[in-house]
Symmetry: C2
Subunit: 206 residues, 2 copies
DNA sequence: TAGATTGTTAATCGATTAACAATC
DNA sequence: TAGATTGTTAATCGATTAACAATC
């Protein structure tokens, strides 16, 4: 029986995975518990057990969860037992920073195509990746069947870029442009806007 | 009577504000409606009306919301009728990109102090701001009563940096380090981790 | 065996939505 | 007046938590 799992549960799995990897790196134990994990993440142990129980029984009464095993399971669930090749659009300062970020590879992603509209950038390289003209976006994405893209363009062109990415077959977009993007259902969009995040916190400051 | 307003409501206000600013920039109308705003943001009109009603009655039956007025009100609520000076820790490629980002000023923030631990960077400038040694962090934050900070350091030192920021008086932290930070209650922490965001989406991809 | 911890149930808590009287 | 849209209520829907039998 296929049960629809809430988005909010899916959203926590990468957080669990990230903390489990830290436990692996610390390397001093083979198992952990929902209590320990919750303690480290500020999440209740009941919620962690409930979340995981949507996908199977990964723990053992009395001993908890085998860290390596749970990491493997979460990677399978999140489809991270592969490296997702990523297209990046926009090589301004943020795009360049993302292209150089070495935290992608180890966690399942690799920026392998980079696009910009600026003729003085096209043909150059960023972190070993050739910068292509945005004109080539559709052909490249279709040819390589790329599913994941990052938008790091100015806000003014982000919706247009998103439309073209979607038309070319992209299924998941992470956008750094500070505006809501419209995309057809079946295409997943997530956002990162530092100002929005800061504004959420200033409410609570005198 | 003071009612506790849910965090999730507060979290949507900056989104409303951002879209209202877009309507201002488009400049072709003085008013909007919860229906229009919801349409543009993929949020139900009922939710928008409910959210706003926590803070007052900002609309008029039949005509909707006066855009400029609602922007003003939201800015007041979010304490954005001032510019918040921000301290940035870490001047790697991401920190540098943030220091150069010109989207802060217009929306209520300004990176005015920058810290790094690398002696070859200390004393240089990034976007007109002097790079200080991390040693000077406590004194500078206390002296200027800085409330908001951004962490763009490697994960390995992020918790230590956060502890020092908090001890010096910082009340809101936006962290780009890919790990959960522990902070005392009363200190607000938000996160931006591109990999976590991408991992949330790959679950839905074949 | 005794202690620890799971997976699950039922209860609680909170958020969203539908509907509509009020009124511009 | 007629149409549009608010603010609010009550109903629905969904998420979190507390508690505990099962069992390692």
């Amino acid at each position: 029986m296929v049960t629809q799992i809430p988005d909010i549960v899916i959203g926590r799995l990468p957080i669990y995975l990230r903390e489990l990897r830290r436990l692996q790196d610390e390397g001093d134990r083979l198992t952990t518990s929902s209590h320990e994990l919750g303690e480290r993440l500020g999440i209740s142990s009941a919620q962690i057990r409930k979340d995981l129980s949507h996908f199977g029984e990964f723990g053992k009464q009395g001993t908890g969860y085998h860290i390596n095993y749970l990491v493997d399971q979460l990677c399978q669930i999140l489809h991270l037992d592969q490296t997702w090749p990523v297209a990046l659009v926009g090589v301004g300062s943020l795009g360049t920073a993302l292209a150089h970020y070495d935290g992608f590879k180890l966690r399942g992603f690799e920026i392998r195509w980079v696009f910009d509209i600026d003729p003085t950038k096209i043909g150059a390289e960023v972190n070993g990746v050739h910068i292509q003209a945005v004109d080539e976006l559709e052909a490249t994405i279709a040819q390589h069947e790329i599913a994941v893209a990052i938008i790091a363009t100015p806000a003014s062109v982000a919706q247009d870029v998103a439309d073209r990415l979607v038309a070319a077959g992209i299924k998941a977009i992470l956008s750094y442009a500070p505006l809501h993007l419209t995309a057809p259902s079946g295409v997943h969009v997530s956002y990162s806007d530092p100002v929005t995040e800061l504004q959420r916190m200033t409410y609570y400051l005198g």
